[in-house]
């Protein structure tokens, strides 16, 4: 699988409260509505203008803080093609996997690109093309890839129970 998209660039320690504000966690249940308020307290430009296929590039510890899964859902539903970060906070890492939102750990990209640049990700080759350079990224760990191949945690557990 290959995807191409515009970059939204952020720094370190972006927390789930600014990805999906706590005040919406009760009032919004509809996934499309969640997508509309994504990143509202971080970047109003993103909230207004992010398009399907766009790619988030962030620093260390993306998605720290509250465990709310809506922080992954709102980005998935917005059509974000992938999140590339130097690192992910562990609860959000699980939530992204569970929502089927591709996540890539890479430290080389951040200094090469600017907001709005177009980059390409080849998941089969494990390669990002950005600013005329090719950057390798590691595949998911084998265990995680097994979950992804089954379609996520729930299908995996159902399969193991003979329910799927």
């Amino acid at each position: 699988m290959k995807i191409k998209g515009r970059v939204w660039k952020y720094g370190d320690d972006v927390n789930t409260d600014v990805i999906f504000a706590g005040k919406y966690t009760y009032t919004i249940k509809d996934r499309a509505e969640m997508a509309r308020v994504a990143l509202e307290d971080l970047d109003s430009d993103f909230t207004k203008n992010a398009s399907p296929g766009d790619i988030i590039v962030a620093g260390k510890n993306w998605g720290c803080g509250s465990s709310r899964e809506q922080a992954a859902i709102c980005l998935k539903e917005r059509g974000i093609g992938a999140i590339i970060a130097r690192g992910f906070a562990r609860i959000h890492y699980r939530n992204c996997l569970n929502e089927g939102l591709p996540i890539i750990i890479s430290s080389e990209l951040q200094d090469l690109i600017q907001k709005g640049d177009e980059i390409e990700i080849d998941f089969d080759l494990g390669e990002i093309t950005a600013a005329g350079k090719k950057i390798k990224f590691p595949p998911y760990p084998e265990f995680v890839q097994g979950l992804v191949n089954d379609g996520g945690l729930i299908p995996h557990v159902k399969k193991s129970l003979g329910l799927a």
Partner: protein
Amino acid sequence: MGKTMIMKIMERAAHKEVHTGERVWCDIDWSTARDFGGANCTLQFDEITENKGKVWNPERIAFTFDLQAPSHSEKVSNNQKIIREFARRQGIKHVFDINRGIGQHVLLEHGHVLPGDVILGTDSHMNLLGAVGAFATGVGNTDIAASWLNGTNWFRVPDTMKIEVTGEFPCGVSMRDFLTLLVGDLGAGGLDFLAVEFTGDAIDRATLAERITLCSMVTEMSGKIGLILPSGAVLDWLAERAGPEARVRAGAIKPDPDAVYIETRKYDVSRLEPMASCPDAPDNVKPVREIAGTRVDQVHIGSCTNGRFEDIAAAYEVLERGGFKVSPDVRTIITPATTEVMKKCAERGMIEKFLDAGIVFTNPTCSLCTAEHYGALPSGDVGCSTTNRNFIGKVGKGSHTYLLSPMTAMATAVRGVITDPRDIVC
């Protein structure tokens, strides 16, 4: 090679030898959800099982109502109703409704948590249960719903950092101040994917409340779990609540003398001073004296991090020494962690004194951890709080919050500006 505490916990739950870095399926002792997020779990479970599924074990699932208790709107009420109906339908008896308090604390007080347990919850501060040697972690609703199918989930076996804390706290300084120092030292991502074992004479002497404070904020350094081996009065308390098995289980998670740690850090708290997390991040840390005099609009004492009786009693002492009066220019709110804590405050006559001093004393809830609660801050206001996060917009768009110890928070309420509590109590 010796095993750390988290390895011993995971080996019991995975029924096999584990190694750091590998991912293993663990049996879950408790899979819990709170009002905030709980309805998402139940709706998802019903969806994936087409409304026909039975949970793996209704005795091992608990619901706690703590974030909005009582509900403040029809939408919240409807979410809470979804949870209650699911529990009835599934035969889940452990429902701690709006009258009990903060989930992890309530489970602990009711004797449901044993050292070495593996516990899931929808609260990212579940891991404060590491204070009694349990591995508890916050997860999203999919992880909870999946665990209800068969009582398992997967975890990466983390490396462990050892943090040795020695010395006696000086007057006016508490475990919260040490913790704030630690968050500043290690940073928001400083414990990424790591477990921590807290040891040292300061930890041996620490009350359950202090151990909870310490373990709860591991989340704010992106750690997986902070663990303290139950000992002394804490183990006695636990055995009284959870039964004699607590002693056996505590013995089973004792780290081996040759356990391998990726790093050992040492701190001496005997010269520590009051510390603050400044706007807008827990790791933006300064000594209180550097920000003293800052005008504030609201002070809040409570939360899963600092809402135990000992925390409120420490604030009470500052209020007493400050003349039993808070500044009329500051709105001061105290929220006990649980009903048990609230009753203890009532028995000691503290609540009457708080009310007479001009303080709002609320029922037990998570209270001002989010803007979705009474007391949310308007734009431009400055708040002080003993909660665990001061992310921008967290308790009201355009407001800013300082995170302080209960003593510093009360000293600030008394004077109306950020105040070093040593100016009042020492």
